[in-house]
């Protein structure tokens, strides 16, 4: 199979895998990991499909987008981790309550 599509499919797989883990796991750290895996999946789709250039150098625009995306992801992860620690400090658990407060 064309590697572009192979990696794109892997990206789709990572995206859904991350989505599954995000929904199923309660621990916030796992949720944050899951988001990162999902992001990697999206980035993979974005870059893999950029190689469809008939052997020429791949399209650089998605590369730039992914670098932007990686920085955004690390920023979000840092914020999420700090927030997770706050949740732990306030509630004693690194999980969210099942029911929103009502």
């Amino acid at each position: 199979m064309n590697p572009a599509f192979l990696y794109a499919l892997v990206g789709v797989g990572l995206f859904t895998l991350g989505l599954y883990a995000l929904i199923v796991h309660a621990h916030l750290l796992r949720k944050i990991l899951a988001i990162n895996v999902m992001a990697s999946g999206v980035f993979l789709v974005l870059v893999a499909l950029a190689t469809r250039t008939q052997g020429a150098a791949p399209d650089p625009v998605p590369h730039a987008m992914v670098i932007t995306g990686i920085v955004v992801a690390v920023s979000a992860t840092a914020l999420a981790l700090a927030l997770m620690l706050r949740v732990r400090a306030e509630t004693g658990r690194a999980e969210l309550a099942e029911e929103p407060l009502e």
Binding site: P3, L14, A26, N36, V37, T53, A57, V61
Partner: protein, 348 residues
């Protein structure tokens, strides 16, 4: 060789999925994070396979390296000894199945494994949970199948914007097309993205000053290692910054290497003197964004459009922006690793 490459690609793809699954499903959080870092390294390999060395560098440094460090630091702070005392409200002790363990040895991992064999379900009822998970698996499989199908129907040849980039590369001031896109063609994205990074720091700092976990003394080995490595790291960062104009590299990669130096330094127990943790630190943190904005405004005042570099100055301006950005990115990421605002001097 194509067959070998295909086999390699398939193996790598499979390994990525497997590692991701293991990282997410691992009952031991520490193990999960380690697997995630490994996942990040394999991702870097995938980027290389996809002819994206710039991303490979960024992924290895930021995606796997710094994110991993952030995750491990957070996990360490989640450990029981650290959260006691910095919560305001009296807290329930965590329940058995979320006592998260940091145990490198197999024996301990095993015991932890038993404790958290099942990740905490989101519905209490066992049967309902099974049904829910089943439904979820089915619908997500359908989603994956649909997305996969959609991807496969895309034309197998599509140049995207590579031709336009190539056509305008001359005028961009740099010869590395990715840097050209990042800092020139789509420089506005990068401007906003520096904002995102800074904003994350604002956010983390706004959560208040977390009393620091007293690390055990770093010991002579780490101390010596860091003394040896940090100058190298700074040098490498400078090199990456410089080389980014025409080869893989650039501000983000350089910044994250710089951040690695900072993280290493922080790990040895070094802290910024309170004299510098106020204004001087803030200035460095905003330098990247600030220089970017100033350049933008000056260009507009000179009659251009936003971020419209005169071709003759483009190279110099991009380098200027990148230099400031590298510094800010490095210090910001290191500050994010620290996890809260450093204590400032007596003016508070």
């Amino acid at each position: 060789m194509t067959l070998l490459q295909s086999v390699f690609d398939a193996l790598l793809g499979f390994a990525l999925l497997w590692l991701a699954w293991q990282a997410l499903a691992s009952p031991d959080l520490f193990k999960g994070i380690v697997l995630f870092i490994a996942f990040g390294l394999l991702m870097a390999l995938a980027w290389v396979r996809l002819d994206a060395p710039d991303i490979a560098l960024a992924e290895a440094a930021i995606g796997a390296g710094l994110t991993g460090a952030l995750l491990l630091a957070a996990l360490a702070r989640l450990d029981k000894s650290s959260w006691r005392g910095f919560g305001r409200t009296p807290v329930r002790p965590p329940e058995g199945n979320n006592r998260d363990v940091i145990h490198p040895s197999k024996r301990d991992t095993k015991s932890a494994h038993e404790k958290t064999r099942k990740p905490k379900p989101i519905t209490e009822n066992g049967k309902g949970q099974a049904a829910f998970c089943g439904l979820l698996v089915v619908s997500l499989s359908a989603l994956a199948a649909g997305l996969g199908y959609a991807v496969l129907t895309l034309p197998s040849q599509a140049p995207g914007l590579s031709d336009s980039v190539a056509a305008s590369l001359e005028a961009s001031g740099v010869s590395n097309p990715v840097t050209a896109v990042l800092l020139n063609f789509r420089g506005y994205d990068t401007l906003l993205e520096l904002g995102v990074l800074l904003l994350a720091l604002f956010g983390v700092w706004s959560f208040g000053v977390v009393p620091e976990r007293r690390e055990s003394s770093p010991g002579p080995v780490l101390d010596r290692l860091s003394r040896l490595l940090i100058p190298w790291l700074i040098l490498v960062a400078g090199y990456l910054l410089w080389v980014g104009a025409h080869a893989p590299g650039g501000a983000f990669q350089a910044g994250s290497v710089l951040a690695a130096a900072g993280v290493l330094w922080l790990l040895t127990g070094w802290r910024l003197d309170t004299r510098f943790s106020g204004w001087p630190l803030r200035i460095i943190l905003v330098a990247g964004l600030g220089v970017f904005v100033v350049v933008a405004v000056v260009l507009i005042l000179m009659g251009g459009r936003l971020l419209e570099y005169p071709p003759s100055f483009a190279a110099a301006l991009i380098l200027l922006i990148e230099a400031a950005a590298t510094l800010s990115i490095g210090i910001t990421l290191a500050a994010l690793f620290l996890g809260s605002r450093p204590e400032t001097g007596p003016q508070r």
